[in-house]
Structure formats: C-alpha cells, structure tokens
C-alpha cells in the first residue's frame, strides 16, 4: 500500500496530459514560503490599481492603449508556404504517434501537441500575435487544392458557437480523458480533427477556420493582447489595443470567458480542496479514470459559474453607472477584458511543467524515432527536475508565476476600464460601471494566487 502514497504520489504541478510531471519537493517548498504575505501583496497591488482609476485623468488609460497604424506585411504566399511546411510536420507527428515510441515523454506527437503547441505557442501568441495563421496545417493545402469560391457559406448566426463547443470538448479531453497523451490515441484524435476541419474548409472556405476551428479561436483571442499586429489592419500599440477589432464575432467575449473558466478549473481540480469536495483522499489519488465524471461536472460548473458571476458584475455595473448600452453589448465587450488574466493563468499554470517537458522535447527531437539516435549531439542528456529541490529556485519560480498573475489582473483592470470608456464615453460612468468588475478581478487575483500556493494532490 505504501507506494501508492509516496511523497511523490502527490503530483505537484499539473494533471494536464502530456505535460504532467510531478515533483513533491517543489510543492513542499511552496508550502514553506510565506505565500500568505505574497498573496496579500499581490491582491493589494490590484486593489490599488482599481483605486488609482478614480484618481487618474480620463486620458491616462486611453493613452495606455493608443496605437499607431503601420503598413501591413503583405505576403500571403509566405503564410501558405509555412502552413504547408507545418502540414508536413503535422503528418510526421501523426506518423510518430501511430508508429513511434509508446512513451509519451519520448514521442514528439504528444510533446509537440501539448508542450510546444498548447503550452508554449499559445502563450507566445500573447506576445507575437496570431502565429497560428502561419502554422495551421490547413490554409496552405486549401490554397493548393481548394476551390476558387467556397461551395457553401456558413450561416452568420453560427457565430463562434462551434468554437465554444469545441473549446469545452478540448478541455474535457485535456482534463478528463484517461490517456490524452497516449501517442496513438492523440494521433488518431488529431488526424480525425484535421480531416474534419480540412473537409470543412474545402466546402465552406476559410471562414470555417475562423468559426469552427478552435485553434484559430484560441490563438486569435490571445493575439489581441500582442503589441504588434502585422496583418491588416496592422499597428503597434499598448498591449490590448487590438481588443476591439472590426468585424468581431458577437461571441468573442464569451469565448474569452470560457478560456478563463477552463484555465481556472485546470488549477482548481488539483487542489486538496477540490479533491475533498469530490471525496478523494488527496494523498491517495486513484487515477484519472476514477474521477472522469466529477471532473466533467466540475468543468461545466466552473464555466457556468464564471459566466454567471461575470454577467452579474456587468449587470450591476450598468445599474450603478446608469449606462444606456445594451447588456449583451456591454457583456460581450467587457468579457474581452479577462483575456490578460486567462493568458497569465495559462503561462503561470504550465510554467513548471514546461520547464521539465521542454527537456523531454529536446531529447525527442534528437532521437525522434526512439532508436538511440543523437541527431543534435546532446548525449548524454538527462532530464532534470533539480530546480524543484531547492527553496531558492522554487521561490523564484513561484514569484515569477505570482508576478505574472498579478500583472495580468492589473492589465485586465486597466483594459476593462479602457473598454468601458469606449462603451460609455464618460470617465465617471466608466469607473462606476466597472467597479463591480474590478472587485471581481481583485477576488480573482486572490483565487489565482491561492491556486498557486494551495497544496495539490492530483
């Protein structure tokens, strides 16, 4: 019985598939850190930012998000070339998934999908913009073999509903499937998704990618936070200047909220608190197969609760501000202000897993067929988790994560105020209308820092 609950049996970082690598000492050291003081300081910073909004002149926040138009970089052929190259690499990954190493930590299929794609590239889109436009494995092929005009047109009222559903489905796969990092299983899922999407693009044209391809939706959402936008309308500005975009889908805000909901639950479901709620001994986690339904239920509940609470804050804010804007308009616009929080949660949550699994990725790149090759000349290469064994490095990692979380919330507070200024066209009304939202973000800062500090057992 003992091994079941070794110290190490407490998984310390993430239970996301393919990116899971636990280390107890990191969590043990985190519990020794004065995280209560750190949390108080972090929440205070966000609260002070809210207070500062009352004192700041109206132009100050607008100035933060000003931008300058620049010439768009027009080279559609370049994107098609990179997309085709990406497709070739994708096909190689599918091959490796089906026929390569059975170990997900030495197979590039799950490592690329989860560690490079889901963790790293998604994070980088908040800095470098929508890199998925360059790396998706469909648009290049469509350019080569697709019809001149779409055979059919997607109905406008479809909006982003398919992407919303796919995001929930993806999160369910990420959090509740019992073996999402199994190379073969993942390769089959990825290949099936690619085929369905390719078919959709061929029939409905590139709009399919915008409305029915969840990768585009995720990257597009976070790319709104990038400083620079190279495609038309191109520009450079304060991070978040792109939040309002011409021709936005009505459900873009709801999609941003779902991203935050998924990210939040991905942290909550590992905590002692959650495991206690679903009747699981956190020191004796029985495996993902034992908690499939509680996880799915929790995921849906977390998303629903977040959307409901957010809607409540917007409604209350509109009452306080006396605004004449439609609720749905305010909700859709203001919901985009949570994107910085969702992005920093994503980065902070996966940072520790990334530090370990990127090492496995490098090792697998050097030996993609797991035959003992050393293409990169890195042998003897040994993956290490030594940085979790020392309190100084653990403190540095934790403070980096916490700093990101605080920064993201400050960013969101400012962004929501900026959006409110545009919506309500009055500094006073904007401050009042976003006050409940600001309080919500202060509370969310606490939640984020608590998640980082909380003992975990799944």
């Amino acid at each position: 019985m003992r091994v079941r609950i070794f110290l190490f049996c407490v998984k310390l970082m993430v239970c996301a598939p393919g990116i899971a690598n636990a280390h107890v000492s990191e969590q043990g050291f985190v519990l020794l850190l004065p995280t209560g003081i750190y949390t108080f300081a972090g929440v205070s910073v966000v609260a002070l930012t809210v207070l500062a909004l009352f004192a700041l002149p109206p132009g100050a926040v607008r100035w933060l998000f000003t931008y300058r138009s620049v010439h768009a970089w027009k080279c559609p052929a370049c994107r098609h070339v990179t997309s085709l190259l990406s497709f070739c690499f994708f096909a190689f990954l599918i091959y490796l998934g089906l026929f390569g190493s059975r170990n997900p930590l030495s197979n590039l299929m799950p490592l690329t999908f989860w560690t490079v794609g889901w963790v790293a590239l998604v994070s980088l889109s908040g800095v470098f913009g929508n890199i998925w436009l360059w790396l998706n494995p469909w648009s290049g092929i469509y350019r080569l073999i697709g019809p001149q005009r779409p055979l059919m047109t997607l109905p406008q009222h479809l909006d982003l509903w398919p992407c919303l559903a796919l995001l929930v489905g993806f999160a369910a796969f990420l959090l509740a499937d019992i073996a999402p990092d199994d190379p073969t299983r993942l390769a089959r899922f990825a290949a099936a998704y690619w085929a369905v999407t390719m078919l959709g693009v061929l029939v409905f044209g590139p709009n399919w990618l915008m409305q029915c391809e969840v990768g585009h939706a995720i990257f597009h959402a976070y790319a709104r936070l990038a400083l620079v936008r190279v495609q038309a309308p191109a520009g450079v500005g304060g991070p978040g200047w792109q939040v309002h975009q011409a021709g936005d889908y009505r459900l873009a805000g709801l999609f941003a909220l779902l991203l935050l909901g998924v990210g939040s639950f991905d942290g909550i479901n590992e905590t002692f608190w959650w495991l206690g709620k679903i009747g699981v001994n956190p020191l004796e986690f029985p495996g993902r197969s034992a908690v499939v339904w509680p996880t799915l239920t929790g995921l849906i509940a977390a998303i629903t609760a977040l959307v409901a609470v957010f809607a409540g804050t917007v409604w209350l804010g509109m009452k306080m501000g006396g605004c004449g804007v439609k609720f749905t308009t305010a909700f859709s616009c203001l919901a985009l202000s949570v994107l910085p929080i969702a992005l920093v949660y994503h980065i902070a949550h996966y940072l520790t897993a990334f530090l370990v699994n990127i090492q496995y990725t490098v090792a697998a790149l050097s030996d993609p067929f797991a035959t003992g090759a050393d293409w990169l000349g890195i042998q003897p290469f040994r993956v290490t988790t030594g940085f979790f064994n020392q309190i100084d490095s653990v403190r540095m990692i934790w403070l980096t994560q916490a700093g990101l979380v605080v920064l993201g919330h400050v960013w969101s507070v400012l962004l929501s105020h900026h959006i409110a200024l545009t919506l309500f066209n009055s500094h006073r009304r904007a401050v009042l209308a976003t006050l409940p939202l600001s309080l919500f973000m202060i509370a969310y800062t606490f939640l984020g820092l608590w998640l980082l500090a909380a003992p975990k057992g799944a």
Binding site: M1, R2, V3, R4, I5, F6, L7, F8, C9, V10, K11, C15, P17, G18, A20, N21, A22, H23, V24, S25, Q27, G28, F29, V30, L31, L32, S101, R102, N103, P104, L105, I178, A179, D181, F272, G276, N281, P282, L283, E284, F285, P286, G287, R288, S289, A290, P380, R382, V383, T384, T385, G386, N389, Q390, I391, S393, P455, K456, G457, A458
Partner: protein, 425 residues
Amino acid sequence: MPKLMTSRRSLLKGAAAGGLLTASPLVARFASAQSSAPIKIGFQQHATGIGAAYGRWYGRTTDAAVKAINEAGGINGRPVEIIAEDDGTDPKRGAEVVEKFANQHGTDVAFGTLFSHVVYGSAPAAGEQKMPYFVVSEGHHVASGKLNRYTLQPGITDVKSQVQAMAPYVSENLGKKVTMIFPDFAFGHDHRDFFTAAIEAQGGEVLEHIAIPPTETSFTKYFPKIPRDTEVLYHVMVGPAVLTFVKELGEFFGPSSPEIFGFIDSLEAVDLSSPGLEFLEGTYFWEGNPRYAQADQTSFDKNFRAAVGVDENGASVSDPADVSTYAHMFGCWETLHVIKAGMEAADYQGPQDRQKLIEAVEAMSDMAESDAHPQGPKVFNGKTHQVFGKQYISRVEGGKLLRVHATSIEDTLYPDEVDYTTMTF
C-alpha cells in the same frame, strides 16, 4: 494445463549457468541464440500522473539495466527490448496497458509497476492474458495472496517486512516507548498495525497513535498529544506538507526531542540539506537502499550508480540537485536481472514458455549480493512470489544519511500468507 517439461532441479542449474553467462565478458553478444529476435519486455511506466516523478527514475534505471544486460550478451543470447507504455498512474489504464502488451506488442513479460492501486488494477489483466507480471511496488499485495500466479515481486521487498524489521533496532537502540504519527488512511494504518505488533514483540509499546487527516497542512496542534515519556517518535507523514511537518516538529521540540524515526518515503528525492530540514539532523530513517555512498560501499553499488548516472550523494551526475529515488529504484534493476536469470533457467524461447518462466522464478531462492543485486543479498519465496532482503537504518549527520544498521534477512520474514504455486496457470 500444458505439460511442463522442465524440472525444478534443471531450472536451478540453468539459473546458475545464466549467472555465469552474465558474468563473462567474453561471451559473444547474441551469438548463441536460436532466434535473434529481441526479448520484449513491456515496461508499465508511470510516465504521467501522480507517479511521474518516480516513473522518471524507474525509467532511467530500467534503461541502464537493459543496457548492462545487452552488453553482457542479452538473455539467452537475444537482445532485450523495452517497450514502455504510460499507464498514467491509473489502474484502469494500467489494465489496458497490460492487454496492449499481450495483444498489440506481443511482449514476453510485463514489468515495472510501482503504485499499488495500479498493480491491483492490472494484475487481473495479467492473469487473464497469462502474462508474467513483475511488479516493483513494495506493496504487501503480492505476498498477501490477493493477486494471482502470474504476478510476482522478486526485485523489491514489501512494506510489511520493512516495517517489522525496524522494531528490533528501534527497541534496542532508540527506546521502547513509541509514539506513532501517521496519515489517517490505509498507508498509515499499515504502518500502525505492522509496527505496533512488531515493537510489542520486542517488549516495547506504542504509547499513542496520532492519526493525521490526509488534508492537513499544519501539524502543531497535534504535537501536544505526544506523551511526555515518549522515547521514540515514529513518523510516516507523506504528501506536500511533509516539509512543513518536519519544520513544525523542529519548532515544537527545539533541541530536546525524543529520538525520531521515519521512513525515507517521506523525503525520497528531497535534498536533506535543504533549508528547513535542519531539524532532521540526528534523526533516523529506514532506507531501502542507502542514498549516500557509504564508507564500505561495495563495488556493486558503485557500478550500479555509474550505470544509472547517480553520484555518491544519490543525485544525478548531470545535476547535483536532481536527487534520485534511490531507496526504491534499484528494484527495477534487480527485477530485470531476475527476469534474465529466470528466462535463462527456463530456456525461455517465446510466449509459449511463460509458464516455465514463472516456475523458474518460483524455484529461485538465494540471490547473492552482486552486480545483479546491488542493494544486497535476498531470498525469494516462491510460494508467496515475494522477495525478502536486508533493510537499512540511517542517521542524518551533516545533512547526509549515514547507515548505522543493516537488518538481517531473518528480521524481515513473516509466515506465508499464500501459496501461489498451488494455483493453476
């Protein structure tokens, strides 16, 4: 039931020959095999999930053992190939993995499972698939008789023998009045039950059992329950709060504490010189295999460390901060060598010889300390499918663990609870 052509005696002779074959560097690699096809060993690895950190070191040890075995000529002249499948540290997935080994990969045996709940979940599948299933989990589940004839644990001792073997040293050297602090669930209860019986058999007594709820992360409020006349505090706390437990225990007692004895499981792979663990100085730990190279280090331990890439402090040679799971991972090395010896004894040719392999392992008894068994000598009990071996007690001195006692194998023995050899295949 297929008629078995190999007698126990011939199997034992074969095992001896196998040992010689392994030891000889002159044997041409893979030259004498009737088939040059590799022996496929399915490695049920905790690559992800709660066991991932252990899985990483089990993987490194497994790779090193296979490299050593292949360099010495493989098994029956055939190279060994490891097929690692991730079980996600999940029992349901574990069973699927065993079925994949049998039906998809065509492995000869399955090996390497660590976490007990995965063993419980997978063993029935191994029985159904008639797949020899060599676990490295330390659980008492094999010897308790709850599994089946296809499941064996020949490379690592079980928790019952480990715990009971501590009692003589504790009672004779640390004290007879013991207070136990343990997490309040099955793992802690095992320690409570096994050790309480063992210390009473030594004339000692447990003054107080202090059960800590598994979700607890602060422990100071429990310490006043420790009776004042406690001579030895026995702790087996686990989980992320274990460092907090140690820190608070140190703050509670200050310089005047009773003797303190624990299981290294609590701090496996944790650097003992970490800030906050100063209180551990002078306390005692059970170790399955001493993490720090001792003054009388055997050449076997030295070779084992070199092969796996572990330094004299039990850390990775490429990162001194990357402390290994040294107290347990030798089990993979030794189990693979047992599989080799068993296959050579049974003249294993393919899956049709799986039953012969199990009988060959059941026929094993003494395993001498050697490069194949660097942790120490062992005795395998073919009836219970469980190996027994020396246990070590170490004292923290200067932030390192200094071995102060090695138990005898006899200290670890207990009456058989099952005879798997009477079960049909």
